[in-house]
């Protein structure tokens, strides 16, 4: 580690101002200016580093600058590397890396929209998070009040890239979709049945979440974190709590760590089971979905017995969990899991015995491993396309370092294998929970409450059922949050859908989309 930073100092003597590790396994490299391009290229080439997220912070009132942060992850290294670059108020611009790193295309444009900092050289610098018809406002600047009432939006309309050719036409879909799903707009260019090109427009559900975190008392902010993506309430809540706990140096009791681990895996099981059923539905195999829906009810019933909520809300808290478990609750976990495991095995057997279903899933919606790597795809979708990455193993948190589990990885990258990753992971989750139950420590479920020191920064990262969830916080005065950046795995993975649908028939779009099952609200916040 030390050699790595000495070498950085030697190579970029003008650029590096300081290297610190304020939080264990989170190294912050403060630079003298915004020009990170050379250093980032060095990171990518020499260390096979991967960009996790990029985000900004308004410190103009206190330090006279904005900061843009770049978070990197290096294979085989448990530390996150965070580049922190000051952007002067009078030159509100930072160099765009989106051409080299398509994973941050939207995140750089978010910074443009929200902070009014220009991503200089961005290949497509149009509005993304605030739609085209918004007035010229930058809501995440501290000078912009949260409760600002904007006039009715009457600006320009979004222009999609036109497609030309004999028999080529465009199909606009959304934002209100045909099923019970979240809103977004898909613009398909098709030549007959095959899809030539898909354009996405998101952020229909932008709710000002990151602005809402600012000045929010921390105990209330946990509930906001639970509402970022409703199917990942516990994962997002935990990532947020971890960030605060690391910033404030709060030690979470062992028992709470194990309880959190069990609940994180129950969230994974419930969602994976539902997804396996939904994928079957989208190729017309409804009976499998009926069984999946029934199995999911068993899991959410257990959730309710463990947390009071079918979707695990109101349980996680800074310092641990809100409620302890009695012996009968703990026993219910093992008993229910036995039933769920048997039922899930039958469900998988039913799906696998159907040749017509397999035929629809195999070679459909292929995301090639080289593309997945370039696009920075994470989570289930990444692991189905050769990306061997899982935060639970690579940056262990809660009880994961003490529990055995395997990370399934496939190369095929089609719908069938995105389903297979889920099936394998459900199996691993059963084993994980059983191992955690066998070693569930006695003791407190919550660390003693203490006032939070202000001005501390830290990151929390959780492998949610969909993929990598990151929260970065700065604590403020009076037990409040000063800034919270939220990165849902979905924002990384939308470009994968664009890639995977190309050349597929439009009738297969629903099942391809479902095999990724990305969160619109997590993307839009």
């Amino acid at each position: 580690m030390t050699t790595f930073f000495n070498e950085l100092h030697d190579r970029f003597p003008e650029l590096v101002r300081s290297v610190e590790e304020p939080v264990s396994n989170q190294v912050v490299i403060l630079l003298n200016g915004p020009d990170v391009t050379a250093m980032v290229k060095h990171f990518l080439a020499e260390f096979q580093a991967r960009i996790v997220t990029v985000f900004a912070e308004d410190r103009v009132n206190l330090e006279g600058v904005f900061y843009v942060y770049y978070v990197f992850d290096r294979p085989g290294d448990k530390s996150w590397v965070i580049l922190k670059t000051p952007i002067p108020e009078n030159v509100p611009s930072f160099p765009s890396l989106a051409a080299e790193l398509p994973a941050i295309n939207w995140q750089e444009r978010e910074i443009q929209d929200w902070f009014g900092l220009e991503a200089a050289g961005h290949p497509n610098p149009r509005r993304v998070a605030l739609h085209d018809n918004w007035p010229d406002v930058h809501p995440l600047r501290k000078s912009f009040p949260l409760d600002s009432v904007l006039p009715p939006l009457e600006g320009e309309r979004h222009v999609y890239r036109p497609t030309y050719g004999e028999g080529v036409f465009q199909i606009p879909v959304g934002p209100v979709h045909a099923g019970v799903i979240e809103p977004g707009h898909f613009n398909f260019a098709v030549a007959g049945e095959p899809i030539l090109y898909l354009q996405l427009r998101m952020f229909y559900t932008h709710k000002g979440t990151e602005k809402l975190f600012e000045n929010l008392p921390i105990h209330r902010a946990v509930f906001l974190a639970e509402s970022i993506s409703g199917d990942s309430a516990f994962s997002h809540g935990t990532a947020f709590c971890q960030a605060v706990e690391r910033a404030a140096e709060i030690e979470v009791p062992k028992r709470a760590q194990f309880m959190r681990t069990i609940l994180l895996e129950l969230e994974r099981i419930a969602n994976h089971v539902a997804d396996v059923g939904a994928i079957a539905t989208d190729v017309g195999f409804a009976i499998a979905n009926a069984h999946a829906g029934r199995v999911r009810e068993l899991v959410v019933g257990l959730n309710e017995a463990l947390t009071g909520s079918r979707v695990l809300r109101g349980m996680v808290a800074v310092g641990g969990v809100r409620r302890d478990w009695q012996r009968d609750q703990v026993e219910a976990i093992g008993k229910t899991l036995n039933v769920v495991e048997r039922e899930f095995r039958d469900l998988v057997a039913i799906i696998q015995s159907s040749d017509s279903t397999r035929d629809r899933l195999e070679h459909t919606g292929i995301l090639r491993p080289d593309k997945a790597l370039t696009l920075g795809i994470v989570g289930v979708a990444g692991r189905a396309s050769g990306i061997d990455r899982d935060i639970r193993r690579d940056h262990p948190y809660e009880a994961y370092s003490q529990l055995p589990f395997k990370v399934p990885v496939y190369q095929a990258g089609d719908v069938r294998h995105r389903m297979q990753v889920r099936i394998d992971e459900v199996g691993e989750s059963f084993q994980l929970i059983r191992a955690a139950l066998a070693r569930l420590p006695e003791g407190s479920h919550h660390a003693p409450t203490q006032p939070m020191p202000p001005g501390r920064c830290a990151m929390g990262a959780v492998e949610g059922w969909r993929g990598e969830i990151v929260h970065w916080v700065r604590t403020g005065e009076g037990n409040r949050i000063e800034r919270c950046k939220v990165k849902d795995p979905s924002i990384n993975n939308w470009p994968a859908i664009v890639e995977a649908v190309e050349g597929n028939i439009i009738a297969d779009f629903p099942v391809i989309n479902k095999s990724f099952n990305l969160s619109y609200s997590g993307t839009d916040r």
């Binding site: 559900t205 979440t209 509930f223 609200s521």
Partner: protein, 284 residues
């Protein structure tokens, strides 16, 4: 094929007979909080911890107005834990849907001690009038719309939490189709819009257009704390608050998210509204 049949026979019927039989709730299930206004010695701790502002205080000269809005409550249980006097209790009640938004709001007025705790309860307004039990409404459905109701769900900005429970209405356990109710792909085919919120600025136009595309007679059901009043997101630069800030709403279903039975209760309640509006809109 054989294994599919065998599995289906071995399971039998998985459907729970709500509303004829109350659902099996876990002992730990959190329904809405209940307030004993007479015994409540201090509302400040509960208001302090309430994440959505569902419990709000307005202190004047030695007087305090307390407002409890079930429409914004997310059933987190924090108010009960924070109130040392035991005046706030978490119940197992989830059948909370109403046709009048005001019925979700309780108010109480207290005189205060110098330290800010309550001296005497001056008045209360206990909000919800007696609601019609879901069972009775279900009986009415046989006379309606040839035993079928078509719902178009609209996510106008939700976190996807409510959508999960709405999807669960279609699974074999909750099986909403047993009432002749089904979800349709277009608002043009719908009798009812089931809308989740908060309504974002970016979804406002799409929601208005969807409402305009739905033929009369139609009813609108606002789902969840966000759909009713913006929930934890409230009204800010990016959100308009609840659904009724944009289109007229007939029924409100509290919860975060409302459990499937709570949704069913609200949808059945809204069916009564369909019947009423059919009276005023004779079939052409």
């Amino acid at each position: 094929m054989f294994n599919i049949l065998q599995k289906s026979f071995s399971i039998g019927s998985a459907t729970a007979d709500y509303p004829n039989i109350p659902p099996r709730l876990a002992e730990q299930f959190r329904g809405c909080p209940e307030f004993d206004f007479d015994a409540w010695s201090d509302a400040r701790p509960a208001a302090e911890v309430c994440p959505t502002g569902a419990i709000a205080l307005h202190d004047g000269d030695s007087l305090r107005d307390v407002t409890v809005d079930y429409g914004r409550c997310i059933f987190c249980g924090e108010c009960a834990e924070a109130s040392a006097d035991g005046a706030v209790r978490i119940t197992r009640n989830f059948e909370l849907a109403v046709t009048d938004r005001r019925d979700l709001v309780l108010t109480a007025e207290y005189t205060l001690h110098p330290d800010g705790s309550h001296a005497e309860l001056q008045s209360t307004n206990s909000g919800p009038s007696a609601e019609i039990p879901a069972r009775r409404i279900a009986a009415a459905i046989h006379h309606l719309l040839g035993r079928s109701l078509s719902i178009r769900q609209v996510d106008a900005g939700s976190c996807n939490g409510c959508e999960q429970e709405i999807v669960a209405l279609n699974n074999p356990v909750h099986d909403i189709e047993r009432f002749g109710i089904h979800f349709v792909a277009s608002p043009r085919h719908a009798d009812m819009l089931l809308v989740t919120g908060p309504v974002t600025r970016n979804m406002e136009l799409a929601l208005r257009k969807t409402w305009a595309a739905t033929p009369e007679p139609k009813v609108v059901v606002a789902v969840g704390a966000c759909g009713i009043g913006g929930g934890i997101f409230g009204t800010n630069y990016a959100t308009m608050g609840g659904v009724d800030a944009v289109i007229p709403v007939d029924v409100y279903i509290p919860g975060c998210p409302p459990r499937p039975e709570a949704l069913l209760h609200g949808i059945l309640l809204a069916l009564g509204q369909v019947r009423q509006s059919m009276g005023s809109h004779p079939r052409r």
